[in-house]
Symmetry: C2
């Protein structure tokens, strides 16, 4: 028996979604029951305006806002169950939708809850962080940890729509902005030299201003990052056709770094360290010229992203690659920059010897130096 | 962004899968890591032969058998987590598969675990019950209860293959055989008059003999039931195109009956009562002639299936329909027999008045009589 499931996902770019005159959210909800799930921080910053918006548009009768204590530590199945219980307590059926309004942890947990509630209901993602805008909030994947084991559980469950509003970034702290920039740098290095130049030119200003100055550069950078990400994902959306994925750049060593740091390293910080390591591996393997490697490291440093960490130690990193190889169908598939805006793969685990990894860690100034 | 996910599901009919010379299971595993999940009962009956089979075919190095305490009461998310933890403890990656070897609860829980482990891995279903062979073991849906709320969580995650072996039925007790027959009767009434006649002629013998006598009639009945079920499901496999589903026959009142009975009524028994109720409703609505209604009730009784229960009381059933309507997009969509082998729908909740329901319960001899 052959079957096929088709999905359509809308990306709704907007400015100031919560402006009562902005129709984007109203149109996206179109009067179906909606359970908004948000975080304490987002609720404190935007909860009042959200409720005013829902009132103004007559949505309050069939829209509910639930605040949950999200964090990387609570990104586990019980939090998914809490969302499903909230939906069940409201008697929501299959035509209802879950709206994740927050950072990547929030939108991931909401996507997972929507994937399993009544065998899958619609969900909307409204990312409020830069990571959310350019990565977690636009993808079709969601993930939760299993007793701390990073992203061990999850589903592919495309959101019906993602509402992308850079206005939320103006209240975001610098550290979380930097994490989003790391994901944008990932796209820039692997497939978009224009985005790379944009980040070289305006990255520090955007970081300092919460993406409000220069606003046009900020919006353009977000659009390019989203476009690059989706172009890469589109050909292999459910990851069934190949295990070579450009968007895994920066995501080979980073899961281990996050885990051993007990999440004191944020995802984007771990990705930055991984990209720095991969850049120097590319240089040592002869696929990236030294000036280009230097240019990448310079951008990471300029954006105040870490390129090394006490948690980046040889034995642990080496051991962690076994899990990566299992996840990638027996191959390493380490993404390496092959210039600014292009990439290649180090396919076999055997190609990455301990001496090379040790040399890279030493050069970056980690604890093995 | 538009995307499409295509799946192919194989139905492998076989006789005596655990015969060392039977290649079906070996071919289905084809040397990828496999975690077999089974029940205590199935392990006691067939665990020894399964392990011999795996040894004989050199699969023992990458196949593991885990026994878990399954029941309708433990059909909750923690049991799904237990399966994922077993997979995680073995270090299984995305190329591994989970093999559910047991009844419908076991194969459902395995399907759900496979749906969320590493964002979805392959799974095989090897049903050992008649319900499994003709229903739970061939569908693409799985479900778990949420704090007892029936099937509140679940996913659509087609198995890579289902191995259908009637040999397992010879050790099944009569009560569970009857439950499977109820699902076969469902297919027969809604869309297959030949299957209905086959069950009229051979049903009691098949029940008495564990489907071994007459063996050819048993196999034919199973094939017809599977074929009818899949033909109905195929047009609307992910339940996105319509909320009118013939295979919901017997599944409107039954979830409530199962819940209030605290699962002392088995699923198939509740389905039988629901079918009897729907049959008399059809007669009262004038869509089914009295002799055909009588013929349906006679078959249910001949197969020793219940047509009434103390749990089938008016107030509770009436209230439960609100949940059904929410689940079916605001409509009742009660499936009614419109002859032997055809069906229609009672679409609007308002069409089913209390007097009609009370009359039907009285006629069937429930507590409201």
């Amino acid at each position: 028996m052959r079957s096929s499931l088709e999905t359509v996902q809308s990306l709704l770019f907007t400015r100031d979604m919560l402006d009562p005159d902005n129709p984007t959210l109203f149109n996206a909800i179109h009067e179906q029951p909606a359970l908004f799930i948000t975080t304490r921080t987002v609720h404190a910053l935007h909860g009042g305006r959200l409720e005013q918006y829902l009132d103004r548009h007559g949505l309050s009768r069939a829209a509910w806002v639930q605040v949950l204590p999200f964090s990387e530590r609570t990104k586990e199945l019980p939090m998914v169950v809490a969302i499903c219980e909230a939906a069940s307590a409201l008697g929501l059926g299959r035509r209802a939708r879950i709206v994740g309004f927050g950072g990547g942890v929030c939108t991931d947990l909401c996507g997972m809850a929507a994937a399993i509630y009544c065998r899958g209901i619609s969900h909307l993602k409204i990312p409020t962080t830069l990571v959310g805008l350019v990565d977690a909030g636009i993808g079709v994947k969601n993930a939760v940890n299993l007793h701390g084991s990073k992203s061990r559980l999850g589903t592919f469950h495309p959101p019906e729509a993602s509402i992308l509003d850079p206005r939320f970034l103006s209240t975001l702290d610098a550290r979380h902005l930097r994490c989003g920039l790391a994901e944008m740098v990932k796209v820039a290095i692997t497939c978009d030299p224009a985005l790379f130049e944009l980040l070289e030119t305006h990255g520090t200003d955007l970081l300092a201003s919460g993406f409000t100055h220069p606003a046009s550069a900020g919006e353009l950078a977000i659009r390019l990052a989203v476009k690059g990400m989706l172009r890469q994902l589109a050909e292999n959306l459910f990851e069934v056709s190949t295990y070579e994925r450009a968007m895994d750049f920066g995501h080979t060593f980073s899961p281990h770094l996050e885990t051993v740091s007990r999440n004191t390293l944020l995802h984007g910080e771990a990705v930055a360290i991984d990209m720095a390591m991969s850049t120097l591996i590319a240089q040592r393997k002869g696929v990236l010229a030294p000036p280009e490697a230097e240019r990448i490291l310079r951008l990471l440093r300029r954006l105040q992203l870490p390129v090394s960490s006490p948690f980046a130690e040889l034995a642990g990193l080496g051991a962690s690659l076994r899990t990566v190889v299992a996840h990638r169908n027996g191959r390493l598939n380490l993404v390496l920059p092959a210039g600014i805006g292009s990439h290649t793969f180090l396919r076999e685990a055997e190609s990455l010897d301990t001496a090379c990894l040790a040399g890279v860690l030493e050069e970056l100034g980690g604890p093995d130096a």
